[in-house]
Symmetry: C2
Subunit: 345 residues, 2 copies
């Protein structure tokens, strides 16, 4: 029997039910801004942390001390690339490097669809362990990268400024692109289902770089594939957060693709976002850079987000993107406390 | 007496007057994608090209062969930093490096306001030379960087991923920020006025990185300063293009700040942009990556931009951002021809 959740604020907000306080968690809440995390990273590589369920569990639990209303599994969106046949590493200071980028149809043909239980069993084990350790204290969020964002790493071989190779394939070889997106979608769908079976109580789909696309390109080259994933995951009844950045002109299409909750960054107010995608819960949207501001400035801006969020059918407080490594840890703690205090008024 | 323009399509579109064909020019149309430019850069540094009126003139004229309807002066938005007291260089493969970044109030205090005729006389000389060489063939556009974008380079010391130091000053020392923006605005205002006096027939204000800001931050920390520049330049009667990227949620505020023409990137359709900022001419908005697509795909997308543009009071065809160095030159030529042919139908 799974333990009951003592704190179900986050899940209630996802389901658009009343909450006593606005729930808050933060993308990359387990990360380099915490000395406990840096201590572990001094001993282990990023991939070792991800692949060792005990270590991944330990990192996942680190930010709970800040009082956040959900844990998010410590993992990386690129983990599925290795069992697909495209291994990568995190090069020092350079981010991920895919050893053999996918440059053409033949490369796409070589990619394998796999069962998460086989290729990513260590993630599922970590989920089980975290659920046990959390013992219902807060819910656990699982996650995966969305097909476009994963494709951009696969094709470019790492981070990219302009996505030249990605868009070249998208525009120049639409059949190869479609096959690539279908493979990534099927892998992601199975992976998210397996995470839910293992115990994830909500999942987030990260389409972090989708804001590089025009609405026309999103509709043609991405939407059907994200929809394939999300419409299936929605049938599990587990809340799905659909997240991207720079998405002000994509929100309506993203909602069409699916998601119980839509993520919004700081470029658009929650109120304006709600006009575009009414009736859905929203997650966001403080600029992560406000964690570098004096606390009174940070709180003033957080109050606006909370006030706007209270007018929505459901609101989960979050940043518009991940916490940066240089962030002062005391401001993270102060933000969590403020969101709880201010929203209870 | 200044020569009459034989091709005034661009200026007519800026003024929202009827045109025989949609005018087109492209940001960074003089640049590394052209072998003629690479040949010059093999012999001279970027700053040498900028600071030598004859060379700057030569580079400015290079893309005229493609049939574009305007020339844009070859220069760099950072040139004013040196006479302000913050010299920089273009480091190989790394972009601009400001030798002593402005990190605090004392650094802001040290920045000088200067007369363009003294500090940037070489730019004004280049303008005069280009006007003479063009002899009215197409109009010449001058330009400057906008205060936020310039401030980000000054404070970060170069390009930035997250603008941590910039936003830290903005949120943490609003008085220093205000003084910095006032100094940059005054320098930019004088610089644009001097360019117009020297012969620029239109000017573009590049606020390239403004899309990093929330609408709240733009309104509080940037808008008054851009407005100070643009409201003054508008009184000259010379068209002003107000440009940024990632600005879907800032367009209305940008229009409030000023500009005869508003630049739009590919993230929002021209039709949707016109709903937000009706009555103004728009410039844009093809994704520069479509220049890497097969020509039939590129033309299909360009046709959509042209068709939408024809419904506007004024439309100047451009990319949503600059031409990338890797762009196939034959596609640039093909795009110019297509825009002229298709829009004449």
């Amino acid at each position: 029997m799974k333990p009951a959740n003592m704190n179900d604020r986050f899940l209630r907000a996802c389901r658009r039910e009343p909450v006593d306080r606005t729930p808050i968690w933060m993308m990359r809440q387990a990360g380099r801004y915490m000395s406990e995390y840096r201590a572990l990273r001094a001993k282990h590589s990023m991939l070792t942390l991800c692949k060792s369920p005990e270590l991944a569990c330990q990192v996942t639990l680190q930010p709970i001390v800040h009082g956040v209303d959900a844990a998010i599994l410590f993992a990386d969106i690129l983990l599925p690339l290795e069992p697909m046949g495209a291994p990568f590493e995190f090069a020092k200071g350079e981010g991920p490097v895919v050893h053999e980028p996918v440059t053409d149809r033949a490369g796409v043909d070589r990619l394998r669809i796999f069962e998460a239980e086989e290729g990513l069993g260590y993630v599922l084990d970590a989920i089980k362990l975290v659920r046990k350790e959390l013992n219902g204290k807060v819910p656990l969020i699982g996650f995966a990268g969305a097909p476009f964002t994963l494709a951009s790493y696969l094709i470019e071989g790492g981070k990219s400024a302009h996505y030249i190779k990605t868009k070249k394939m998208m525009y120049g070889d639409p059949a190869a692109w479609k096959l690539l997106m279908e493979k990534l979608s099927e892998v992601t769908r199975r992976y998210l289902r397996a995470q839910i079976t293992a115990g994830a109580q909500a999942v987030q789909l990260f389409d972090s770089w989708i804001g590089q696309l025009s609405p026309l390109d999103y509709a043609e080259f991405v939407l059907p594939h994200v929809q394939y994933i999300l419409k299936d995951i929605e049938t599990t009844g587990v809340p799905v957060i659909h997240f991207g950045t720079g998405t002000s002109t994509l929100l309506q299409l993203q909602k069409q693709a699916g998601g119980t909750v839509i993520g919004v960054d700081w470029r658009m107010s929650l109120t304006d976002a709600a006009k575009l995608v009414p009736g859905v819960a929203l997650q966001g949207n403080l600029d992560p850079l406000l964690l570098f501001a004096p606390q009174d400035v940070m709180k003033k801006r957080a109050a606006i987000v909370i006030d706007e969020g209270k007018q929505l059918p459901g609101h989960i407080f979050n940043l518009g993107h991940g916490i940066l490594p240089e962030t002062p840890v005391e401001n993270v703690k102060a933000l969590v406390d403020f969101v709880h205090e201010y929203s209870a008024r």
